[in-house]
């Protein structure tokens, strides 16, 4: 009989400027009993600083397994952030899933062209949103294999 090794906790970097949406995401994780480590930043520039461990605040930042990215962010928006990390040799393999209110085809296409690994349109129905987050965390946390955390 082999010893049971618990699955390592999924580390998620959430780039979201809207506190209500960030709260809703955490609520969805809680409702789905997903024990993920959620790191929250409010714009693209702060997300880059987190990933590059810049400044005292992010000196001990944990490299995320997955980035959930809102498109409309202050200072550096989601598109600029995507372009920036896909040009960064150290960061480009971290999968980025876009979380956006927009269902416009041009936004979906633009996100994938910039290197997004997925695109999730936020549902206005909370129940549906919670279900979508369960599927999302199951897929990225259990189904697919992600690069070893550095």
């Amino acid at each position: 009989m082999t010893a049971h090794t618990p699955a390592p906790q999924l580390v998620i970097l959430l780039a979201e400027d809207e506190p209500a949406d960030a709260h809703l995401f955490r609520l969805a994780l809680k409702e789905n009993h997903v024990a993920a480590d959620v790191q929250h930043v409010v714009d693209g520039r702060e997300a880059l600083e987190y990933l590059r461990r810049q400044g005292l605040r992010f000196a001990a930042a944990v490299r995320p397994d997955l980035i959930l990215l809102d498109l409309n962010l202050p200072r550096m928006d989601g598109r600029e952030f995507l372009a920036a990390i896909k040009e960064d040799g150290e960061l480009r393999e971290i999968p980025v899933v876009v979380l956006s209110t927009s269902r416009a085809e041009r936004d979906v296409v633009a996100a994938y062209r910039l290197g997004a690994a997925g695109y999730l349109a936020k549902s206005p129905d909370v129940t549906e949103f919670i279900r979508d987050i369960r599927k999302l965390t199951t897929y990225w946390g259990s189904v697919v294999r992600l690069p070893e955390r550095q």
Binding site: D17, E18, P19, P74, R75
Partner: protein, 550 residues
């Protein structure tokens, strides 16, 4: 129409110019102008071409005339040289003492083609004729006294030069007679007049070898004239069947005491009438085509212009409709948003202390916040859409009064932020008061929202006038705006901080209002390192009291 307007007192030069331009720019006017210009150009080209052609044609005719005239001159001189041969024979006989014996001269006719008759006249009386047959009557004829040849014979004797008489009729044609005086050495060593040597030359004999007919083949008519001192004016001695056209080419060659003249010209004149007609026809067709093309292009341009104006009208109409729709929509959406804020607040009050689940309280808070945010967004969207429309009389607006009213309205927010606001002198701007108030409100709210730092917030509002412009500055002592974001923050929904602070429309609204009245707005670094919003607007009259202010 123009005359009618010119008479009218109300007609202004600009109206007349516009009417003239409208008339001149008509397709038919343009086509006519192009036709006239093109026709003038084509006429010039045809005239120039015709001039070159005429010069070449006359040059060619002059060359032909010279060739023919010289050939006739040579033939005449050859025929006349028989008289010199006769003179030599006589003088030879004189010197040998056999002057009374008449020499044989008939053989000379063979040696000097062109001479049809030779005569020797001792003392002017014909003594010998060749050929003798048929001319016996000429023997003993006194040439010096002859009414036809006498003058020429006497001139030859008196001048000692070969002299030519004629033309006169002979054997159904015209003939010339060359008279050469013969002088012999007399006993006392002096020259004495012996007599005359005569060579009669039939004109057709001279003309035949010259092939004047070739001139006719080349399309010319010709005339050969003879001019001598005894003839009054030039006498016609040969001509082509076809007439000589006007302004002929003329060649004059001297023969003894006379001149031979050859005139040459096409019977119909030098002008190439069929060619000119053909060229003119082609030219007219070309001009007409060009004029049609110009008229067509003008018509197309006018149609395109009208279409463009129509499109512009439609776009303007649709834009106005859309703007109106957006404004109305934004306005109407504010109502449910306001109600949501009201009822969320009411619900929270009613449930205060009765909810065990903290998540429920959080949700209620978010509902209230988001409804308030929606209301603010809709308010700013409505203002943004109407930013370029004055909301009152555009006049010399008292900025100090506007700012004072604004500070009074925002006193609570200023107090909450713990801010100290200092207002300096503010010159007047030319704008409606509500929009000037909006611009200062946005700048002030921007300072209140983003100017907070470790230090107490200090906001300074001042202004200055430079020529026709006023410049207002709203500065804070906060963290400021990094240079890379100073232009970007004027975009709609562009924010530099997370939600909860501002709608992202304020600065865009401010810039839109400024630009709609010919001004500008930008962000600079404040003297203390904070953010400084600068408004540059048209200046208002300082000493003019604004009208209609309540």
């Amino acid at each position: 129409m123009i005359a009618r307007i010119s008479r009218g007192v109300a007609a202004r030069p600009s109206q007349i110019r516009a009417l003239l331009a409208a008339r001149v720019c008509q397709p038919i006017s343009i086509a006519l102008a192009v036709f006239v210009l093109a026709a003038a150009l084509v006429a010039g080209l045809i005239w120039r071409q015709e001039r070159y052609r005429l010069r070449d044609a006359r040059g060619l005719a002059a060359t032909l005339a010279a060739e023919q005239a010289f050939a006739m001159q040579s033939g005449l001189e050859r025929a006349l040289s028989a008289t010199y041969a006769l003179s030599a024979i006589v003088r030879q006989g004189w010197r040998s003492g056999s002057e009374d014996r008449l020499p044989a001269i008939a053989g000379l006719l063979r040696d000097f083609p062109g001479s049809t008759m030779l005569q020797l006249a001792r003392g002017g009386v014909v003594r010998q004729v060749a050929p003798a047959d048929g001319h016996e009557a000429a023997i003993a004829h006194d040439l010096l006294g002859d009414p036809l040849l006498g003058a020429t014979a006497r001139r030859a004797r008196d001048t000692g030069q070969l002299t030519i008489a004629g033309p006169y009729a002979m054997d159904g044609g015209l003939a010339l007679a060359g008279c050469l005086p013969i002088f012999v050495d007399e006993a006392h060593g002096q020259h004495g007049f012996w007599g005359l040597a005569i060579a009669v030359i039939a004109v057709h004999e001279i003309a035949a070898p010259v092939r004047l007919a070739e001139l006719v083949e080349h399309g010319y008519g010709y005339e050969v004239l003879w001019s001598s001192p005894d003839s009054h004016g030039a006498q016609l001695i040969a001509r082509s069947a076809s007439a000589v056209g006007s302004d002929p080419v003329e060649r004059v060659v001297p023969v003894a005491n006379a001149s031979l003249i050859l005139r040459l010209a096409p019977p119909v004149g030098w002008g190439d009438v069929p060619g000119l007609l053909w060229q003119s026809l082609v030219g007219l067709l070309f001009c007409a085509l060009l004029a049609w093309q110009a008229g067509w292009q003008t018509r197309l341009a006018a149609t395109a212009k009208a279409h463009e104006r129509n499109l512009e009208r439609r776009v303007a109409q649709r834009t106005a409709d859309l703007q109106r729709f957006a404004e109305v929509t934004a306005h109407h959406l504010q109502e449910p948003a306001r109600r949501m804020v009201s009822y969320a607040g009411r619900l929270k009050g009613q449930l205060a202390g009765r909810l065990d689940d903290p998540e429920a309280n959080i949700s209620l808070d978010f509902i209230g916040q988001q409804a308030g945010r929606l209301q603010e967004l809709l308010r700013d969207v409505e203002l943004y859409l109407a930013a370029d429309q004055p909301r009152g009389r555009v006049e010399s607006c008292d900025a100090e009064q506007t700012v004072a009213a604004l500070l009074s309205r925002l006193a609570e927010s200023i107090g909450e932020a713990g801010a100290r606001v200092r207002v300096g002198p503010l010159p007047r701007a030319r704008i409606d008061a509500p929009r000037l108030g909006d611009m200062f409100r946005v700048a002030l709210e921007n300072a209140l929202d983003h100017g907070r730092s470790e230090n107490a917030l200090c906001i300074e509002i001042d202004g200055s006038r430079s020529g026709d412009l006023v410049r207002y500055r709203v500065s804070d002592n906060g963290p400021g705006v990094e240079p890379e974001y100073r232009a970007r923050v004027f975009r709609v929904f562009e924010r530099l901080s997370a939600s909860g602070e501002g709608t992202g429309i304020g600065l865009a609204l401010l810039q839109r209002i400024a630009e709609s009245i010919g001004g500008h707005a930008w962000i600079e670094e404040a003297p203390g390192g904070g953010c400084q919003v600068v408004l540059e607007l048209p200046a208002g009259e300082e000493n003019l009291a604004p009208e209609g202010r309540s």
